[in-house]
């Protein structure tokens, strides 16, 4: 449940110091906490995957380019949404960025409203992604707490088998199945069979 209450931060990465710090100030004036980084390497050195937020990234940078940083984040399994800023004539790069999972891109020069709108959307998406991840983590933790026998019962229950059939399959009494079933519903915090089925689907993704 880490990160639930941490504030989202927008990371701006641009090699032009003035552009970078002015964007940070612009976002700050909108009440959006932001941090500026002079290079992709600087950002990676400080990046905390547990921290919610999004990344505003210049495509063209010396050293590690914006696209290379995106690849590196993908390799690390990072879910932070990336908004690319492209210069004039960088459309092929923007297309490539989108194909690699960029959240959005903006072409220079852009209106600040367009940028803040996209940032808000990216932050909402990030929040949703993190919620889903947290739910999945929680479900997997609950699944891990089940005993081997409860696990067997869970599998058969979610296949839609009745207690009587399960008892036959496992060679135990129907009463025993009922007890296992009650325990696993409790451990999984499932109120209904439908909810249990949904959880196992999310947990096994």
């Amino acid at each position: 449940m880490s990160g639930r209450d941490r504030p989202a931060i927008v990371h701006v990465v641009d090699d032009d110091e003035a552009v970078c710090s002015s964007l940070r100030l612009l976002l700050k004036s909108r009440g959006i906490p932001a941090a500026s980084h002079a290079s992709a390497e600087d950002f990676l050195a400080k990046y905390d995957s547990e921290e919610p937020g999004c990344l505003v990234l210049d495509v063209r940078m010396p050293g590690m380019s914006g696209l290379e940083l995106q690849d590196e984040l993908n390799r690390r399994g990072a879910i932070i949404p990336v908004i690319f800023i492209t210069g004039h004539g960088d459309v092929p790069m923007a297309v490539e960025a989108m194909q690699h999972g960029a959240a959005d891109f903006l072409q220079k020069p852009f209106r600040d409203q367009d940028l803040t709108d996209r940032i808000q959307q990216a932050l909402v998406a990030d929040h949703r992604n993190r919620e889903q991840l947290r739910e999945k983590d929680a479900i997997q933790a609950r699944l891990a707490s089940l005993s081997p026998r409860e696990m067997q019962v869970l599998r058969l229950v979610t296949l839609g088998k009745s207690n009587k059939v399960i008892a036959g399959d496992l060679g135990v009494s129907q009463r025993t199945v009922e007890i296992h079933r009650a325990h696993l519903m409790e451990k999984m915090a499932a109120a209904s069979l439908a909810q249990l089925v949904r959880m196992t689907m999310i947990g096994n993704e």
């Binding site: 003035a18 002015s22 612009l26 004039h88 220079k108 600040d112």
Partner: protein, 373 residues
């Protein structure tokens, strides 16, 4: 020799000669006028023989020629005899044309007689003019091409401070809209705005000095200043490719009468090439150095040195040829045009491998201060 030569043989010899041959006496009167002379000047031998040779010259030579002969006979000091030179000749129809003239005194002739050989230079002159026209055309083409590259570089360089100014201004507006404005933030942002406006202004100042004129125009220029102007335009390109651009400028600014824009085009081309060479190279130090100074002979030298792979020795001999290129999108004209520009300045553009690896292109310009306007 002539004594053993029959008169008819001598005449044949003269008439098959490709060059015009004219023999005159001590007064300048034409005695012999061969076939080639007839073709060249448009006079028949009958018309020319007996006339003064100054008939074949335009003014002012025409009225001075008798004096030249008299002076030679009186003093014995040759003015043109035995030396030969390029002079302007005049046809029967009044048209003038360049000839190379060689004059000799016929041995033992008294009073002296002279023989002149004339070779038409019209074709050679036209070729030289054509070459010059071609150079000017190429310089114009290259000017257009580099203007395109420069425009893109300029647009990027100016957009950066403008984007920053816009961001700071919007932020200021927001801060001031707050019930209790954070004036310290606003103050800081305003200072940044002023700084970025100056940055944009500086770029424009540099650009203006580059595009002030399109006409080839030579004037006394500080070579160091030309180099600084170009480096301002290549900084973002260099930064983008992780290349460090270093200027090592002579303490005593070298000054020469040059077309500053053309020289900057050449330098822009050389620096772009260097950056491209480094961009395509494997990891390692990526440095481009532009150095100004003087050669041992006192000529002005501008060297563009990179730490890339250098030029493949297999093609080093051909890199200055038009349409020789190693780049996928290159025209192969950059170095050819650059060299013709430098040669038009009576200078040289040469390639030398750099140590331990890399390329070094050296522009050498004559010290033109003494004959500068």
């Amino acid at each position: 020799m002539t004594s053993s030569l029959a008169a008819s043989e001598f005449k044949t010899l003269l008439d098959v000669a490709v060059d015009a041959v004219v023999i005159i006496d001590h007064r300048g009167v034409i005695e012999t006028f061969n076939r080639a002379a007839e073709r060249l000047f448009g006079y028949t031998a009958a018309e020319a023989i007996g006339a003064n040779v100054n008939l074949l010259m335009p003014e002012p030579d025409r009225s001075q020629h008798d004096g030249h002969i008299a002076r030679y006979i009186a003093s014995g000091v040759p003015h043109i005899i035995g030396i030969g030179r390029d002079v302007i000749a005049r046809r029967k129809d009044g048209g003038v044309f360049p000839v190379s003239l060689a004059v000799g005194r016929i041995p033992d002739s008294a009073p002296p007689r002279f023989v002149g050989f004339m070779h038409d230079l019209t074709a050679r002159h036209e070729a030289a003019e054509e070459r010059q026209r071609m150079q000017q055309r190429m310089a114009r083409v290259s000017h257009l091409a580099t203007m395109g590259e420069m425009a893109a570089a300029i647009a990027h360089e100016i957009n950066q401070p403008l984007a920053a100014i816009s961001n700071y201004a919007i932020a200021c507006e927001r801060f001031l809209e707050a019930p209790e404005p954070d004036l310290a933030e606003v103050h800081g942002a305003m200072r940044q705005i002023a700084g970025q406006a100056l940055r944009a202004g500086e770029i424009i100042r540099r650009v203006r000095s580059l595009v002030r004129t399109h006409e080839p125009h030579r004037e006394l220029a500080d070579i160091n200043e030309l180099v600084r102007g170009v480096s301002a335009l290549t900084e973002s390109d260099a930064r983008l490719h992780g290349v460090r651009l270093t200027l090592e400028l002579a303490d005593e600014p070298p000054r020469a009468a040059v077309d500053g824009i053309q020289i900057q085009q050449v330098l822009l081309n050389l620096i772009h090439n260097a950056i491209e060479a480094l961009a395509g190279a494997a990891a390692g130090e990526r440095n481009v150095t532009v150095r100004t100074g003087r050669s041992g002979a006192g000529d002005i030298e501008i060297a563009v040195i990179d730490t890339g792979p250098g030029v493949d020795p297999a093609i080093a001999q051909r890199i200055f040829d038009a349409f020789c290129t190693t780049k996928q999108q290159g025209t192969g004209l950059g170095l050819a045009i650059s060299r013709s520009i430098i040669q038009a300045h009576r200078g040289r553009l040469e390639y030398r491998p750099a140590a331990p690896h890399g390329a070094c292109f050296v522009v050498t310009l004559p010290d033109t201060l003494e004959n500068a306007p």
